[in-house]
């Protein structure tokens, strides 16, 4: 048995476990389907992790190791190669592995930290053939960084998400020729620093407002046809261009892996694809918490760790029966701001609200209203969907608040 079971041993699961331990929970068990702790960080061998958290640039495995070492020092239990099959509303977990077979657990609290998966080609309905040589960028990353195999030699990348950008550089360093990165939107979905360091530094063309319209090749990919798209994202006839290549990598979005959460009847936010949570990262199923990429897709692991600490501490409070005064404030958005996490606030205390915008906007201010009353405004020269934003609300702002509205307003020059 365990008081707290954490599903997923990536950065979110590990931080949450450590935070809960530090708040007094001793009976903790992490379940991880992979053969090692660390989650997706294991395959992210590039630099750029931990700048916020540790003040230095670490690689993914180095960042993960910091937490893994703590887990081991504290003696927090974990089971590897263990796949959780289902969770019920009343917190019964069914899992399987080679040693224990299929087994059940009924902890006092659960933290969901399952991460996300990549959107596959299927969802895109690209016409043409279905040859070998089409990989999601993360699969390619795993092949190159973990298995030591090259997925191909001449590459086109569809989608400019961060993993795609990182892989453009990685494949180039390994001797492959990355011929183009095509992005459907008029802007990249990745971090500005990645466009600089992964594309510009290697002269890899980024073709904005472009998509792949046809895949060629019977056995192995032999090329792709790309085309420019109009403002409705429809390919413009006459702009087609053939690029010979043997590999197509897809970096077309990440989807939080919430099949287990849905099975436990946790309510899902349609926009984030993750659970709807309060400031404690508690879902609408009491005692079930969520953090990391399973909650919403993050750009930086540092924020994942922060979020997971909140979830771990809150789960510890929940287990020890601590209850604070309950309020209920819904956080609403205007569409230009696509979503916020948390989606609701139930305690009067300082809270940082994370959010993403729907498009690239310049010279704007982020405004937080309670009804007609402006509580807070923060000016930004530029905001983009690829970069998560946050804003801190203080306890006294929430004092008499009934409904929070997040709006993006223009700043008149």
């Amino acid at each position: 048995m365990a008081d707290l079971v954490i599903i997923g041993g990536g950065p979110a699961g590990m931080s949450a476990a450590i935070a809960a331990y530090k708040k007094g929970v001793r009976d903790i068990l992490i379940l991880e389907r992979d053969g090692a702790l660390g989650g997706i960080l294991q395959q992210c061998i590039h630099n750029g992790f931990g700048l916020h958290k540790f003040g230095q640039e670490l690689t993914g495995p180095e960042y993960a190791l910091q937490y893994e070492n703590q887990i081991k020092e504290l003696g927090i239990r974990y089971k590897l190669n263990t796949m959780v099959l289902s969770i019920t509303k009343d917190k019964v977990i069914t899992a399987t592995n080679g040693e224990d077979g299929i087994f059940k657990l009924r902890p006092k609290a659960i933290i969901l930290a399952m991460g996300c998966r990549e959107r596959s080609k299927g969802a895109l309905n690209i016409g043409g053939t279905r040859p070998a040589g089409i990989y999601s960028a993360g699969t390619a990353q795993k092949l190159v960084n973990m298995e030591g195999y090259m997925p191909g030699k001449e590459v086109v990348i569809l989608g400019s998400g961060d993993i795609g950008l990182i892989m453009a550089r990685r494949m180039t360093l390994e001797g492959a020729k990355v011929k183009a990165v095509c992005e459907l939107m008029p802007y990249s979905g990745g971090l500005a620093r990645n466009i600089e360091q992964c594309l510009c530094d290697f002269d890899i063309p980024l073709k904005l407002s472009h998509t792949v319209v046809e895949i060629h090749g019977k056995e192995r990919v032999s090329g792709v046809t790309i085309a420019k798209v109009d403002e409705n994202k429809k390919p413009i006839i006459g702009t087609e261009e053939y690029i010979a290549c043997d590999t197509l990598l897809l970096s077309v979005g990440l989807i939080p892996e919430n099949e287990l959460s849905i099975g436990a009847s946790v309510s899902i936010d349609k926009i984030t694809g993750g659970a709807a949570v309060d400031q404690d990262r508690q879902t609408d199923c009491a005692g079930i918490f969520a953090c990391g990429n399973v909650l919403h897709v993050h750009d930086l692991v540092d924020f994942v760790s922060d979020e997971a600490e909140i979830a771990g501490q809150s789960a510890a409070d929940y287990i020890s029966g601590i209850k604070e005064e309950n309020i209920h404030i819904n956080v609403e958005t205007d569409g230009k701001i696509r979503y916020t996490v948390p989606q609701k606030i139930t305690k009067k205390k300082d809270v940082t609200v994370y959010f993403r915008v729907a498009d690239v906007y310049r010279n704007v201010k982020i405004c937080v209203y309670d009804g007609d009353t402006l509580l807070l405004a923060k000016k930004k020269v530029k905001v983009a969907p690829g970069e998560m934003e946050s804003i801190k609300l203080s306890e006294d702002m929430l004092a008499n608040c009934r409904k929070l509205q997040f709006k993006l307003e223009e700043v008149n020059a």
Binding site: K121, G122, R130, E147, V213, E219
Partner: protein, 477 residues
Amino acid sequence: MYDVAIIGAGVVGGMIARTLAAYELKICILEKENDVAEGATKANSAIVHAGFDAKPGSLKAKLNVQGAKMMPKVCEELGVKYKNNGSLVIGFHDEDKRTIENLLERGIQNGVDGLEILDKDELKAIEPNISDNATAALYAKTGAIVCPYELTVAAIGNAMDNGADLRTGFKVCSIKAADAGYEICSENDSIKARFVVNAAGLYADEIAEMVGDTSFKITPRRGEYILLDKECGGLVSNTVFRTPSKMGKGILVTPTVDGNLLTGPTSVDMDDKEDKSTTAEGFARIIKEACENLNCIPFHKTITSFCGLRAVGSTGDFIIHSPRSGFINAAGIESPGLTSSPAIGLMVRDLLMEGGLVLREKGNFNPIRKPMHAFREASDEEKNTIIKKDAAYGRILCRCEGVTEGEILEAIRTNPRPSDLDGVKRRTRAQMGRCQGGFCMPLIMKLLAREMGVPCEKITKRGGNSFLITGKTKEEI
């Protein structure tokens, strides 16, 4: 010297092989691809048609009805999923209504049981998500669904367990008369057989020509599909067809036996027998028509799309006959070929017998094959007993479909053995879920390489040059 060589390892060749495996015969199945079920058999609607569609008196009508009746038992013996979910032909206006009445009439003539016409309310009562514009429907209670590639793998596996040989990568290039039979040659190999069955799908005309039979032609007709996530599989329980019109049969919507939602097929005549590409126009048509059939289909839940080629025969009917002594055609097997396949097996057996093949039943013929999904369907206690013996059954490799390493290894070691990733996929469903192999592909590649004793560089997606990786890192700088 084989008694019978069967050219083509699709569902038709497979069912013929399994039928013949019950007798004291040496049988060889020849297939040009790297695996079985690589032709029309892997990309179709997967419907066991009730039999109201084909022209009365045709071979199609007769074998459809007979095959549909045989299918439940065949599937049970072979451990293949079969679901009697029912079929509906929905109509939107008076002309459709008249066509539906004609179909009912046809069905009765063809000997189909349990047909009835439903009005709008009755239709809505059994399928609440059907379009509000549908006014009537033909309801065929005997309509069913199966998994066509699973059926074929199982039929050929069962034939092999009973002594038949399978040669993949054997593309028949010529057939010569040889002492008391034929010599069948590929580019670099040959076998001899007393009798030859031509079940080569799209290429059946070319095979027939090798023995001088030019009485028919086969032309390819494209059919594209979109497959949706299991979340959507419950939108309908029956297979929903539109009323056929001058424009053809239109787009159907059906659950699959594995619980996904399948919509398609388009219908476009082609020249190239190898062109299985999908098109933007095809997708647009599927989405438009499917959404006319049902009130709301969440196409953003699409997990894959694919295309199959119908082998349309020039005679308008199945072509099953013996044009030369010792040579049988099973050609032009377009829809309802999957449904008819068990009956085609019997008909070809009888033609062989008429042609002089002596049939003696095997005393030890075993018609039963262990279901490929036995572990998946076991109870937790049963699973734990298996895991205790073999821990590989506790390790899940394909997260989306929940397929264990044990199941994958079992598939790799069972007749007919797969030797590429798609072969593993069709047998186990690993890589068939919502992430389409993004996570488990590298693991399965390594497992397959280990089992086959080759390096990963040699593993393909689908035989030929469909290699997955181009080498080791750092090698190429």
